[in-house]
């Protein structure tokens, strides 16, 4: 079902007419732009792309694209996407998630997606908060961030999603900032093209419940060193950086998991033989 490479797609070809429910100024608007830009750059036909998500502000992206989309249940997008990609290796599969959807309720699928290494691209809009449910701490929230549910802060050390990704076998790991849609699009192009499971964490401010994150634009900086293919080194670097280090941090060489499918070697009737006495 793949399309002739000749067709040139424009960014607008990947956007739908559905109006986002996002707050004005939400970082996710830029992520939508970055994704559509990256797809246009790659030139894959919109109908050959599937964008899969869970639940959250960030998880609303599929319907705002002009690709096939699945807005599933909270936390399960990676599993749904893996089933789709294994069954339909011809499709380009993206998963769009948030720090709550992806790292809190969805943490187990994250671990196993990294390990399974199906060829798809996992995009997490990290705003260090549950936006959709109006401002509770997420696994990446700072320990002292005050909220109604955790007055005075949770006291818990935030998660290192990138380190967990490396520890569990992701094949491509990067961090970008939504406020830089060109830079993000460039990384996404690379991530989508990289074989196996690619993980891109996008720092995407929640202007409503984390207005302090508007400052991020002054805090991000490009990773000072080149990406490595040594997971242990990459992990160490991320564990000790300031969390605002952008760029591709790790490129691995593991072969993607893709069982052969659609190549029948025996008839159904042959299978029945085994039961015959």
């Amino acid at each position: 079902m793949s399309k002739a490479q000749a067709v040139a797609y424009k960014q607008g070809d990947y956007k739908s007419k559905v109006k986002p429910i996002w707050c004005p100024g939400c970082g996710d608007y830029h992520v939508l732009i970055s994704i559509t830009r990256a797809l246009a750059e790659i030139g894959v036909a919109p109908e050959d792309v599937a964008v899969i998500s869970g639940i959250g502000c960030s998880s609303r992206i599929p319907a705002y694209t002009n690709c096939y989309g699945f807005h599933g249940v909270h936390g399960r997008s990676l599993a749904l996407a893996a089933g789709l990609k294994v069954a339909r290796p011809d499709l380009t599969v993206l998963i769009t998630s948030g720090d709550g959807d992806g790292f809190s309720i969805g943490g187990n699928h994250f671990l196993h997606a990294c390990r399974r290494n199906v060829d798809m691209t996992y995009i997490v809009m990290d705003n260090r908060v549950y936006g959709m449910t109006k401002g509770q701490p997420s696994p990446t929230t700072e320990p002292d961030w005050d909220s109604a549910l955790s007055p005075g802060g949770t006291g818990l050390r935030p998660f290192h999603p990138l380190v967990i990704a490396l520890a569990s076998g992701a094949n491509f790991v990067a961090r970008t900032f939504s406020g830089d849609p060109n830079g993000t699009a460039r990384v996404l192009v690379e991530a989508i093209r990289h074989p196996g499971f690619s993980f891109v964490e996008i720092l995407s401010p929640c202007v409503t419940f984390r207005p302090d994150e508007k400052e991020w634009k002054n805090m991000v900086h490009t990773a000072p060193v080149e990406p490595t293919d040594d997971a242990a080194r990459a992990a160490r670097r991320i564990m000790t950086d300031d969390g605002f280090n952008l760029g591709v941090l790790y490129r691995g060489h593991r072969a993607p998991y893709q069982p052969e499918i659609g190549t029948a070697s025996v008839d159904v009737a042959d299978l029945e033989e085994a039961f015959l006495l």
Partner: protein
């Protein structure tokens, strides 16, 4: 009682039930499996269930078998023959192995103390020193002696047994074959010495032997899935469903499909939803605890209209319950487990062999209606190995109303006459839409408007309620003013009870539901038309099936609910007794 008729000593019996028991390492289960296969070669019908202790490996075990020249619906009420390779822990099986004064019990005099149940039953007993006899044969094993005894007492042709031995042990080398044959010969000789035959009426040796399949319900479910067009599976191991997965994994690969082992059941059902969204008919299999974890996403599949098949091989519940024993108590969760109004399909196979047809039909129905279908098998159906006729080919195959060519103005959830909307498969230009578990309009765009909510709720209800299911919704047999109304694996005992009643001239109907939801209310009324009394039979503690029927339809005035929890399956004689007692 009719069963006594069949047990006139000396005359060949219509059916014979045999138990072979022994402690860890004695090989009771191996002997049972070989006996089953030999009987199959003779052209008999048969069933074998395995009962094991809590140990993961070893520990006591019992092979429970029944044979007949006629198709068998279920295990018998009691055992004609019990062979104890030893008696250690045999009392663990006492409740499962009912003996009568007509039973024959063979034990090894050095095999420990015979349990109370044997003398209490008044059964005829005999001793064979299986262990000692085996010692005398180089490489000989006591279970092969037991096997010889069984074949001898049943009067089965030994040639068929030897053929099985050659097939099964051939790969271990000639010595193993020779040793086993020798042990069997000894067993046959011992049997011949006894005055305790339990002869079985077998197909005439001259007639062409009827072809038999030997298959478990779990294998049959796998085969049915493949026949029905399933090409993707994802699952997480769980007793007693694992064999479906272990059968499907290599089988799917051969037919161009794939099985993915998921990290948990939350993942497996979502993988299956993803693959089906991609156009591949997909299935997962699990048991109660796994189904519980799948419930949220079963609702997603319902709301987003993604066809999937979920086979639930039920075990004792609630919670972890009794993983290795059968029960029908997942009926409630299967029908009513989802939050919100989430109408979907629920089916149940009516016999070991019917696991094939019902799973195949489920795949067909799920795809036809773009709805999830839950298949309620159970430990008894799934793990019983049966000798059956080759299941007939039926035309049911996954066929989805799909959009496969470029479209314009596509509306995924369009309201149509049959309430099923053609589904665009990723890759089709212009078909792009976002499948959603949020309430949505016809295009799939999220909406919280009452009108959209109701229209889509109506649609999802109507598509499954107005579908024409044909005759397969139930097996209906017999006639009369009294009916036994049941479902799933209890169909076997109910069918045999009705047959026994008929032998005694007592007319009764059997109505066994294969399609549980949506309940075919009108067809059921027709099936019960003229019935004054209905006995509702099921293997649950609380009478879930009875309550469900009450909730959905008007039953005749006189209804009795006969149910109990597992693990002991309700026996034909118990159903039979209920009906007889009611009449009087």
């Amino acid at each position: 009682m009719s069963s006594s008729k069949r047990n006139d000593a000396g005359n060949p019996r219509q059916s014979v039930s045999i138990a072979i028991v022994g402690s860890g390492g004695t090989g009771a289960l191996t002997a049972g499996a070989m006996l089953l296969e030999a009987a199959g070669r003779v052209g008999l019908y048969g069933l074998m269930t395995r009962s094991v202790g809590p140990q993961i490996r070893g520990g006591e075990a019992a092979a429970l078998l029944r044979f007949s020249a006629q198709p068998l619906a279920c295990m018998g009420d009691s055992y004609d023959l019990l062979i104890a390779i030893d008696w250690r822990n045999a009392d663990r099986f006492a409740a499962e192995i009912a003996l009568t004064k007509d039973s024959v019990v063979i034990g090894d005099p050095r095999g420990g103390d015979m349990p109370e149940m044997v003398p209490e039953s008044g059964a005829r007993t005999a001793e064979i020193a299986m262990k000692a006899l085996a010692k005398d044969i180089p490489g000989g094993r006591q279970n092969m002696i037991a096997l010889g005894v069984a074949v001898g007492l049943l009067g089965l042709p030994e040639a068929d047994l030897f053929a099985v031995i050659e097939k099964q042990l051939g790969k271990k080398g000639d010595e193993a074959v020779t040793a086993s044959k020798a042990a069997i010969e000894v067993g046959l000789a011992e049997a011949a010495k006894l005055d305790h035959a339990v002869p079985l009426s077998v197909p005439s040796a001259n007639a062409e032997k009827p072809e038999r399949w030997m298959i478990t319900g779990n294998e049959a479910a796998g085969m049915g899935a493949i026949r029905g067009g399933i090409r993707f599976a994802a699952a997480y191991p769980i007793t007693p469903a694992t064999e479906i997965l272990e059968w499907l994994a290599p089988a799917l690969t051969k037919v161009g499909g794939v099985l993915v082992q998921a990290e948990d059941e939350l993942a497996s059902i979502n993988m299956v939803i993803g693959a089906s969204f991609g156009g591949k008919p997909s299935l997962t299999a699990t048991s109660g605890p796994g189904l519980a974890l799948m419930i949220e996403s079963l609702g997603l599949a319902t709301a987003a209209e993604i066809p999937i098949v979920v086979v639930d091989v039920m075990r004792g519940g609630p919670s972890t319950g009794i993983p290795t024993k059968s029960e029908q108590s997942d009926l409630n969760i299967a029908i009513h487990g989802c939050h919100g109004d989430a109408p979907h399909l629920v089916l149940a196979p009516l016999s070991v062999g019917d696991c094939l047809f019902t799973t195949q039909w489920a795949a067909h129905l799920a795809e036809a209606m773009q709805a999830p279908a839950v298949v309620l098998s159970d430990q008894f159906l799934g793990q019983t190995r049966a000798l059956i006729e080759r299941p007939a080919d039926v035309a049911f195959i996954a066929q989805r109303a799909a959009v496969t060519e470029a479209v314009n103005d596509y509306r995924r959830y369009a309201l149509t006459a049959e309430a099923v909307s053609p589904m665009a498969i990723p890759g089709v230009a212009g078909g792009q839409y976002t499948a959603d578990g949020l309430t949505h309009d016809e295009a799939g765009t999220p909406s919280s408007a009452a009108g959209h909510h109701e229209a889509q709720l109506d649609k999802r209800r109507d598509k499954i309620e107005t579908f024409t299911y044909g005759d397969h919704w139930a097996d209906i047999e017999g006639e009369g003013e009294v009916a036994v109304l049941t479902w799933g694996s209890l169909t076997g005992p109910a069918r045999e009870a009705v047959a026994r009643l008929a032998e005694d001239g007592i007319k009764a109907r059997l109505v066994a539901l294969r399609l549980i939801a949506p309940l075919q209310v009108e067809q059921l009324a027709t099936a019960l038309a003229g019935c004054k009394r209905v006995l509702v039979v099921e293997q649950t503690h609380s009478g879930q099936f009875y309550r469900y029927l009450r909730s959905m339809c008007d039953l005749p005035d006189e209804v009795r609910a006969f149910h109990r929890a597992g693990p002991l399956q309700i026996r034909p004689s118990e159903i039979d007794a209920q009906i007889r007692e009611w009449r009087s």
